[in-house]
Amino acid sequence: MRRFAFLALLPAAALASSARADEAPPVPAPPSSDEQLRAEVARQGAAIEELKAALEKERKDDGAKAPSSLPVRISGFVQADWIIHDQQSQDEVNGSTGQPLNQDRFMLRRGHVRLDAEKGFVLGALELDANTTNGLQVRPIDAEVSLRWPAKPDARLPSLVATMGLMRVPFGGEVQELDYVRPFLERSTMFQALFPGELDLGVRLKMKYRPLDLAIGAMNGSLIGNKVFPALDPVHAKDVVGRVGVDFDIVRGVHLQAGVSGDVGTGFHAGTPATMNQLVWQDQNGDGLVEPNEIVAIGGAPATPSQTFRRFAVGGDARLTVRIAPVGDLSLRAEIVSAVNLDRGLEVADPVGAGHDLREVGWSVGVTQELTKWAMIGARYDAYDPDADASQQRAANLVPVDRTYWKLALMGMFRYEQARLLLEYDLDGNPLGIGPNGAPTSLAANALTLRGQLVF
């Protein structure tokens, strides 16, 4: 078709060219080649000067209209989950919260939009998260203002960044790991318990110099995922959190990230308000009728003061990555944390109420293997004991009980550009059930989840 059109145009073009040749005026004698070039350069030079003047004028006008703004970069990611089967699911509601107990559902786990801006020594970020984990929710997930030195990275100098705002707590390896980078669905149970939500308000100083990676912060100690007082701070004392790490190539193709972390802070036990005298009916004979001897007077009680308690944690983390050509990277990861009274997300630690300090111990080991650039498989085992000294009255004896939560995550992932399709089966153990013999046993909670992820 295109060829026929071209052939049809040929006679018309020929006619047009012959007409132009017939009408052309007599041409004057051409100037010499040098003169022609000089004239052309002079003409272009004048044009450039004109453009420069116009640009300068435009800049001045813009400057008068508004202050210079930082260039903003927009990024984000979406993680959409299909919980294919969760053994905990029941078609019931939780009597205390009114929330459904069914977990077999489609869920927007995370939908983040992030704005980053930087200029010279100043940089900042604002990240918002939309999710349907506990109903529709939009919340700030990261909001920080930073000063850095030097303004441009220089390998010969240490890099310093001082930050204030809502940021990741500088503890351990998994807490720092970004949600869209982590190969497994969620963090280990110990970090969901000890650092729920991973982000807290405070100030932080980070320094990186060659293999050395340091971070220290003063934080509220009430992370955004806290079960009690999330993102608030009931005590004036701040938690001091920090990590000392290294990040370097041991040999070509073998990379090590490792560090030790610490957290020292102050926890809070809420007091109670004064109560009034009251009468209560106790149906002691179960006849449903109010009788004089079933009316019980409960005396009022004075207010009890709130109390504070010390809490701390130490931890170690290591991640070794080995490049195995042509398959891909093999990554081994391990982490351990020992803490006292720090649980804020799972079994909230309150030594005042418990009558003893709560010693928490958690650890995890994991391995992932890339299978070319298209796929990855991995496994991670983690265990967390929220009270290493827990005991239970069983018949006539007070016996120690194991309150360990453990999880084995088995993961397979397909990747394409910035997209992931991840299937994970979680084998779950916990102390929440009661076995036939009355002893704590696992409440079945294994889950199979498919996650789609896109980073933009």
Binding site: Q88, D283, A395, Y425, I434, G438, L443
Partner: protein
Amino acid sequence: MRALVLPSVAVLSCTIAASCSDGVRADAGADAYMQISGAQFVRGPMPEGSPSGPAVTQLDLIDNSIWPGLANDHVGGALEPSAMAAAIGMQGDLGYWIVGAGVPDVATPNDPSFSATAAFSRGIVVGSYTLVVRAVDQNGTFGPPKAQILVAEPSPTNPPATGELVVTLTWDTDSNLGLHVVDPSGVDIYWGNPSSQPPFSFNQADGGSYGYIDYDSNASCVIDGLRREDAIWSHPPPPGTYTVRVDAPSLCGRPIAYWTVRALLHGVEVAHASGVAVDADTRGSHGLGSGVLALQLTVP
């Protein structure tokens, strides 16, 4: 590569198989006749006991009367020394409950005790039931049963209303609904005018046949759990047409409430209606003459 993959698959399969058979199911047991707070519900029949298993040495109940909606009913007792838990259930129920054994009671210093607070479903019907308790030892061996007959009676706290004419409104959620009955003389009996009897009457020639509302359930969204209101004529009601309306002052945060109205004349159901209250029904006035028409009945 194959050397890595095959052992991995084998380990994975074994782990999944082992884990799937482990643990107890999360089950609130909210559909069971008997519910015990803080205990583990196990769906299905209670295992047959073994003679070698521990026995229940003592079973304590306040009495053997139960009724629909009964809560905070104590079930306790003592178990043989080797017992670590008690399994408590009702014969024919959907499952049973496991309660851990506690310290011995002073009356039985050598035997572990058990104690539970039971509640009974609103759906339980009047009749006889058998409560079965078995002790369980450390190895999960169930012992011989200890049984007790429970007699389900009509609820003394919420007995069915009696009278010559009874109009009953019931509903299904913790909402505040209101019953309106307009008698043949045009008096609207409802929570704001709970009786058709004039404040002071010189003329009692009609035999004192007045209707009254017995209770204003969930008034001001103070939830009492009753979800029922009755309009009662204790004596033969005046002849004529009665109009029954259902008002919804508030759904108390619930999205919807399904209601049912029954009218019993001389103990026989003569009219029945059901409907639904939605948010739109809560708007406007909730006084005299409000509500949606449920039914009309004629008393000869």
